[in-house]
């Protein structure tokens, strides 16, 4: 056990986590140079394209230290987005140390800090690494000071590295051996293994990645997941090389995987404790059920595809247990599903995967958070509202509560004013402001979650020209003056576009939505009135004039081919339209309507 080192990597998006991880894999010969591709650990196409890690990954490396001894390193790569912070916390709980990677050209970011605090809470040994020191814009001294301010120590403790040139990689490997403590644990004690990730494999079922804290696991053992209470047999266990490598025994301190024949990933919960049915160990502290934060309706473009959509969502859920869904029906869109997501990125990813992996074109309704409503008749009984149409009628409604979050924003001092304005506009309250250095400031806000769902992150980025980072945790539910705003097309409610909004912002929100819809709707042979309403009261209106003329001037020998292709393309676009009465609404309009300026 004393030759094992378990560590994770904490870094902000774009700070070079994946590139540096690639270098560690290469230097320890875990991946042959010829098999090397960028972001080796990110195996979903989407991850590579977007340059972010969506799922955790773990990999074991063998490293021969300067003392001649071979060490086993378990690297746990964590997701890099605020939507997935629970997974990050479980990965941290599985380690004794962490590499804190900070981009020397950018400095500390909010997400780095919140994950760093998580790591410190778990008593992880932190090895700060300044990455990208080969860049001309690297500010080694300045960023070193920020790091020392944050975690103490001296500048000698900071490893200078470049994932690009490979500089400092050997120093990192040595520091992992010298500074991260070997795992503690008793191989003879009852088994306690933390599930920090699960992966769906179409042939093998669900594979759980585990960190053994105490005890020993043998192939064929009868095992039990404590939170779900489900019992299985350990069909295969092993360690996580680039591919899974089966072993007969795994014992305390090590990281590995277990295959039990589980078919659905919702049967395995990240954070759960695996133990033996005989002589079971105790539950490991810190398990939480992952709760969706954002809800949206997902409807098939064509009603006939409802069952196919259900099938696709079920398949997606096999390897993404954080996706939840239940059937719902909409007057405008027919039958579909109300889905719960960890955040907007998660929603975006699910939508993209439905289209790419399952060829499902869907309509997504305006996303919302979940609200607590109380009726006058029974003011103590909570009615959960996950869809604006579920909000009780105003005459029966006693009060509504909405979820609040606590947000941390780290930025350069020059952007304080702009960020302050944004947060106030978003109904936020500044609770703390703290200077990390004379130029860097950490601001803490309490904000309604609903306000950050749509465009908060993009606006924050543009206000700070990219120099602000953002992280949040759920706080509580607070009473709020919320109203249901409906959107009408030629007088007909389109329930998929209804939203719960704060009364003070209803009018401006309504105006923006109407204006945006006017841009997104194709003109039709009649005029279309786009209206926003609260109850019977119209609060905003736009009208889209009728299409007067749609005919090509010239159609001679050289025009026919080109013209035919153009009209064929239009025809395909029309197939992606949804008919509301006489009005055709393009699929994209439902999501793009929220891209308000």
């Amino acid at each position: 056990m004393k030759h094992i080192r378990n560590f994770c990597v904490i870094a902000h998006i774009d700070h070079g986590k994946s590139t540096l991880s690639d270098r560690l894999l290469q230097t320890t010969n875990t991946v042959a140079d010829r098999d090397m591709k960028e972001q080796t650990l990110d195996d979903m196409d989407l991850e590579r394209e977007r340059g972010i890690t969506i799922k955790s990954h773990a990999v074991q490396m063998n490293y021969k230290h300067t003392d001649g001894v071979e060490y086993v390193f378990n690297l746990i790569d964590t997701p890099g987005h605020v939507d997935f912070s629970y997974e990050v916390s479980r990965s941290i709980a599985a380690c004794e140390g962490a590499l804190l990677i900070v981009d020397a050209t950018q400095g500390i970011q909010a997400q780095t800090i919140s994950n760093l605090f998580l790591a410190l809470e778990h008593d992880l040994e932190i090895i700060p690494v300044l990455n990208k020191i080969d860049m001309v814009s690297a500010m080694v001294e300045k960023v070193s000071d920020q790091v020392i301010d944050l975690i103490g120590g001296s500048s000698d403790d900071i490893v200078l590295a470049s994932g690009k040139t490979g500089e400092g990689v050997l120093d990192i490997l040595a520091a992992i051996v010298d500074r991260i403590p070997p795992p503690k644990g008793d191989p003879e004690a009852p088994l306690q293994a933390l599930v920090f990730d699960s992966i769906f494999n179409p042939f093998r079922g669900v594979i759980a990645n585990i960190r053994l804290l105490n005890g020993t696991l043998r192939k064929g053992d009868k095992v039990k997941f404590i939170a779900t209470g489900a019992e299985y047999s350990a069909d295969e266990i092993g360690v996580l090389k680039m591919d899974n490598q089966p072993e007969k025994v795994l014992s305390a301190g090590n990281v590995g995987y277990i295959i039990t024949g589980i078919k659905q990933s919702k049967e395995i919960k990240v954070g759960d404790t695996l133990t033996l049915t005989e002589n079971p160990g105790e539950m490991i502290h810190g398990f939480e059920e992952v709760k969706p934060m954002v809800f949206a309706g997902i409807f098939p473009l064509d009603n006939d595809d409802f069952e196919d959509l259900r099938d696709s969502l079920e398949k997606l859920q096999l390897n993404d247990a954080s996706l939840v869904f239940e059937p719902e029906s909409s007057a405008a869109l027919g039958f579909g599903f109300r889905c719960g997501f960890l955040g907007m990125l998660h929603l975006d990813i699910i939508q993209e995967r439905l289209s790419r992996e399952f060829n499902q074109d869907v309509i997504t309704t305006i996303p919302n958070v979940s609200y607590y409503a109380y009726t006058k008749r029974d003011p103590d009984e909570l009615v959960m509202v996950r869809n604006p149409t579920e909000l009780p009628d105003p005459t029966r409604l006693d009060r509504v509560e909405e979820p609040y979050i606590s947000a941390q924003i780290i930025t350069d001092v020059e952007y304080i004013g702009g960020i302050m304005n944004l947060c106030i506009e978003k109904r936020g309250m500044l609770t703390k402001q703290h200077y990390l250095s004379p130029e860097r400031v950490e601001m803490n806000f309490e904000l309604p979650l609903a306000e950050i769902v749509f465009d908060f992150y993009d606006r924050l980025k543009s206000i700070s020209r990219g120099y602000a980072s953002f992280d949040y945790q759920p706080l509580d539910y607070r009473e709020s003056d919320l109203v249901k705003m409906d959107i009408k097309l030629n007088g007909e409610n389109v329930d998929a576009l209804s939203a719960l909004v704060h009364r003070s912002k209803a009018e401006s929100f309504g105006r923006k939505i109407c204006k945006k819809l006017k841009e997104l709707l194709p003109r039709q042979q009649f005029m279309i009135a786009v209206q926003a309403a609260i109850g019977a009261k119209i609060i905003a209106r736009e009208s889209l004039s009728a299409l007067r003329k749609d005919v090509t001037a010239k159609c001679y020998g050289g025009d026919i081919s080109r013209k035919r292709k153009l009209l064929e393309k239009q025809k395909k676009g029309k197939k992606k339209m949804r008919q509301f009465g006489k009005i055709e609404v393009p699929q994209r309009a439902f999501l793009d309507v929220l891209k308000l300026d």
């Binding site: 007067r548 003329k549 749609d550 159609c555 020998g557 050289g558 239009q570």
Partner: protein, 380 residues
């Protein structure tokens, strides 16, 4: 009967809206006629039926061809094809090229129809479009052509330009009616990508083309010409009885045609192909073809084979634009029911008129021809 199109890719100056292939450099003009002659000889067998109902010199500006060039081309055409006495032989001519000298030599050639690119009789519009002629030349050229015996004239007009008022437009149309021009092609100004006009609009140097204005002026056009006895036989084409364009009608009737010269399109019933739209590369390809006749394509053209669905879509696209409309009799069997199912909503809306299973756009329908066609298109 087949059609023959010759593309003469040279212009004195570039009209701002034009996206046809042309060059304002006359560098290759001499070689070009020789190459087109070569192409005619090499590709004459493209047309199964060698009887030509029409020959059309388009461009570019074919009125830039000199006497010798025209003679060589006609000699080759006559050697390769059968040119009947009643064949329509059209030359596109710009008003500034319509001189007594040119008219005299065209009259002496087999040319029996002139297509004059007048576009407008108002200087303001002509300047906006960057035409090479002015309003005076525009007015004078028609009478001059007629006096040299060219009664069979067609004139191009453009409406919807930001500079054009409804009154100017009415005057333009009336001028041609009064002059007794038997055929008119009237086009709504269209902003084609990669043209000077598109750039000017993008950079705010020109006003956007307004749909409402174009629609209104199209309606003015239809009203005036109907009253004057012209038949509106295609969206942009109007003719006095007996004066429909033979050549252009061929395109809408899916007759076969051969196009020679850079960028020219050809059609043989089951495929379309188009020559490379680059003068130097065209010349090179023709030279290579000459040396090695075995090799059918030396970068001269691209070809597209038409699937049954493509053919159906093209029939809808072209047929709906005409006064003879579309009928299920001319559709391949699998598309008939599909078409009938789709067309009825337009009949109900008054956009399409049905008589004895023939479907023709109404006046209202003509304003929305593309939308209706694309709705009726078959797509997998």
């Amino acid at each position: 009967m087949s059609g023959l199109y010759l593309h003469i890719p040279f212009c004195k100056q570039a009209c701002h809206y034009c996206d046809f292939h042309f060059s304002t450099s006359m560098k290759y003009k001499g070689e070009m006629t020789q190459a087109i002659v070569q192409e005619l000889i090499l590709r004459k067998d493209y047309l199964e039926d060698k009887h030509l109902s029409s020959v059309y010199f388009g461009g570019g500006t074919p009125s830039l061809l000199d006497e010798e060039e025209l003679n060589t081309l006609f000699e080759t055409i006559k050697a390769c094809f059968v040119l009947g006495a009643d064949a329509e032989i059209t030359l596109e001519a710009n008003p500034d090229d319509i001189t007594e000298e040119n008219l005299a030599r065209w009259q002496a050639s087999p040319i029996n129809r002139l297509s004059i690119g007048i576009q407008s009789f108002a200087d303001e519009d002509l300047t906006y479009m960057n035409r090479a002629h002015n309003a005076v030349e525009a007015r004078r050229c028609i009478a001059m052509a007629q006096s040299f015996g060219f009664k069979n004239l067609t004139v191009d007009l453009i409406y919807g330009t930001p500079t054009m008022s409804d009154v100017t437009w009415e005057n333009n149309v009336r001028t041609l009616i009064d002059a007794g021009v038997p055929h008119l092609s009237c086009y709504a100004l269209t902003v084609e990508p990669k043209t000077a006009l598109a750039y000017q609009i993008k950079t705010g140097k020109s006003r956007e083309v307004e749909e409402e204005q174009a629609a209104r002026q199209f309606e003015i056009l239809m009203r005036w010409l109907e009253d004057a006895g012209y038949e509106h036989y295609e969206i942009s084409n109007f003719a006095l009885p007996g004066h429909r364009a033979v050549h252009n009608s061929n395109y809408w009737l899916a007759s076969h045609y051969l196009g020679v010269g850079p960028s020219a399109h050809s059609f043989n019933g089951h495929s379309r192909q188009w020559n490379i739209a680059n003068n130097a590369k065209y010349l090179k390809s023709i030279a290579a073809l000459k040396e090695n006749e075995e090799e059918a394509t030396v970068g001269l053209y691209e070809i597209e084979n038409l699937s049954p669905a493509d053919q159906y879509n093209e029939y809808i696209l072209t047929g709906l634009r005409t006064s003879w409309g579309v009928t299920t009799d001319k559709m391949a069997a699998p598309f008939k029911a599909y078409f009938i199912e789709g067309i009825h909503q337009f009949v109900d809306k008054g956009l399409v008129f049905e008589e004895k299973s023939v479907f023709v756009l109404t006046k209202e329908g003509r304003l929305l021809a593309d939308r209706i066609a694309s709705d009726l298109f078959f797509s997998n």
